[in-house]
């Protein structure tokens, strides 16, 4: 066999092998999509197949009327973007201080920040619940958001980006009469845009998917998020699993994020990659 031929063979084997594995990886998702389209009565062993004979949106209609999804989406959007908005302010200020300012206790404070990377709020559900209750924030969106307003991860990422901003640009801004906040806004933020975008995507995904904390904090749909709504689909207290309906509910919940992902695939992958590279 020619070297070229053997290279082609290796490529074909690669495509086949990795392709098979990739198929296994996407199979559960494909199954969820096809089952959500299967008519409620269509059961039997074909429930495991990917092929749907007579696709219908009946499950979606039922799922949609079963839960106040618009409200849940709205709450989720407020929570996710609310967290992100505050985070962007807190991490920018803190990252600038750590990257560019000299002050006593800097290293100690930086380490104190990093502590939050290890002791994520999810480990502190009990004490934080007590605090939120004492603050009267149970069953509010603010209660879901507030423990995440500071982000060690974001501060850390952004500090790295800020450190690579050239000093002469900063000095030029100072000569132009910019104060620190103006310098941050006109020099640092624009130059760190890729990092900010990366952090934003990671933050949005994380908080969109968060479950236990909003479950504990909320009583009613007033503040509940989509993941909590989805769980109540699968936990119908006294009836059997209705897979078609559960699949439809799952699709409704995962679709927004997946859709955005498909549209901005490259950006997403880069962002998560970047968060690893730097984080």
């Amino acid at each position: 066999m020619t070297p070229r031929g053997s290279r082609q063979l290796v490529t074909a084997l690669w495509a086949l092998g990795v392709g098979a594995m990739a198929f296994v990886w996407v199979f559960p998702l494909l199954w969820a999509f096809s089952t959500s389209l299967r008519a409620p009565g269509q059961l039997g062993s074909q429930i495991a197949s990917l092929w749907v004979h007579h696709p219908t949106f009946a499950n979606f209609r039922e799922a949609w009327s079963d839960a106040p999804f618009l409200r849940l989406y709205y709450n989720t959007a407020v929570v996710v973007f609310g967290i992100l908005g505050v985070q962007l302010v807190t991490i920018t200020l803190a990252a600038y201080a750590f990257a560019r300012l000299q002050f006593p206790g800097r290293d100690l404070l930086f380490r104190l920040f990093l502590l939050q990377l290890m002791v994520a709020p999810s480990a502190l559900i009990l004490p934080n619940f007590v605090t939120i209750r004492a603050l009267g924030l149970l069953n509010t969106r603010l209660g879901i958001m507030i423990p995440y307003f500071a982000s060690a991860f974001g501060t850390f990422l952004l500090r790295q980006a800020f450190r690579s901003v050239p000093r002469d640009l900063e000095d030029a801004a100072a000569i132009d009469g910019c104060n620190s906040l103006q310098t941050i806004w006109h020099v640092f933020v624009p130059l760190a845009r890729p990092t900010l975008v990366a952090f934003s995507i990671v933050s949005i995904v994380y908080h969109y998917n968060e479950f236990l904390w909003p479950l504990i904090i909320t009583d009613t749909e007033r503040a509940r998020t989509v993941t909590v709504g989805l769980a109540s689909f699968t936990q119908s207290a006294e009836s059997g699993a209705q897979w078609n309906l559960i699949a439809a509910g799952t699709v409704i919940v995962i679709l927004p994020l997946l859709a955005v992902f498909v549209l901005f695939q490259r950006k997403f992958v880069e962002s998560f990659m970047y968060s690893g590279l730097k984080g």
Binding site: P40, G41, L43, G44, S45, I47, A63, S65, D66, A67, P68, L72, V130, T131, R133, A134, L135, G136, L138, L215, D219, T220, E221, R224, V228, G229, A231, S232, F233, Q235, S236, A237, E238, S239, G240, A241, Q242, W243, G249
Partner: protein, 441 residues
Amino acid sequence: MGGGGMAMVRRWTALAAVAAVAVALAQAGAGAQAPIALRYYYPVGASGPLNRLMTEMVNDFNASHPGIRVEPVFAGNYVEAMAKAMTAVLGGTPPDLAVLDTPELYSLLDRNAIIPLDDLIAQSGGARWLDDFYGALLLNARANGHVYSIPWQRSTPIFYYNKDMFRKAGLDPNRPPKNWTELAAYGQKLTVRDASDRVTQWGVEAPVADTSPWVFQGFLIEAGAKYFDTETGKWVKFNSPEAVSALQFILDLQRKYKVHPPGPTSKAFWDQVPQDFIQQKVAMIYSTTGNMTFIRTNAKFEWNAAFMPAGKRYGAPTGGGSFYIFNKIPQDHVQAAWTFIRWMTEPAQAARWSIGSGYVPIRKTELSAPAFAAYLKQVPQALTATLQLRVAGEQMTIHDVDQIGTILVTAIQAAQSGRLSPQAALDQAQRDATAILQKYQ
């Protein structure tokens, strides 16, 4: 540290309470015409048909009672609803009323969270009014000589079977197994294996323990076990010979007769059982009456409902939720909450709920409500559950019931997995439960 944190939390709590009182006073001063707003915790998720039906009924109540506005809080399943209600109580802002898992009685009393309803019942016709409710449903409404809850969405596990499969196996489809011996024998006829000895159809599936030992309590009652203190909820007896025999029978179905899937009955199994039934993977199942609507709409074969087969006697635990009114709420709220409970449990409303949800009728007069009579014609099986109530026993209602229920679940699963013998598993559960109940002696 030294108490600082705890003190701070208490200060905040006090502050919040003061603020709440201030708000309440401001509202009271704003105008006597404002309707009384009742916070009503109800155990269902943010979704589903029960949520819809409950919302409709509450809206109807509010429309016909201008002085009262009931505001439902859909708080999740029983466990979560209890957690939310407790959180509110401990935070000093109790709900006005709630439907909670009936066996939580002592947990609620221990936290001084609920009030006795005797005076309110007396206003409403006293014993005559109360006697219209099925006696079995009131068993765990009483403690220390008081009535603390009014039955609402009550259920009981019943026995469903596939008549077509009975015919195929040469069994009389109108004669379900009467007792454990027949159950095992039927099971053997109804378990189908393929050429390689793999089971393609199981005889029976009983989710005896998922996250609660509810269905298992039916077997305990049938075995004649007195497994908890029905008077004061202060002791359990999980390792009596009768209790061991109940667990042994479950294991026999799995191992000796091989008519029940092997291994522990898990959380996922609870949801799987009715699904298996409509998929025709199993001939006979134990499941809640709450699943009757699901089975009726999905089964593509002839099915029937029957009593749970008897051991020494027939028996089944009651289950489901009841109305509780909370402590430390204003007197006019108590009255308004009672008005709401009275209205909801009127035969016509109760029948509307039973038909829409599949829960058992709670009152005798409910059966003669025109809507229910029509429903029974359509779904004669629904009567079985009601009849079984006559032989039903009390669901375990004790102090710290959630924790002790989990202990019993663990014991059952340990025996099913073969880690412990039935006797050893139940001995262990008895020791653990007794240690917890120690503080109430």
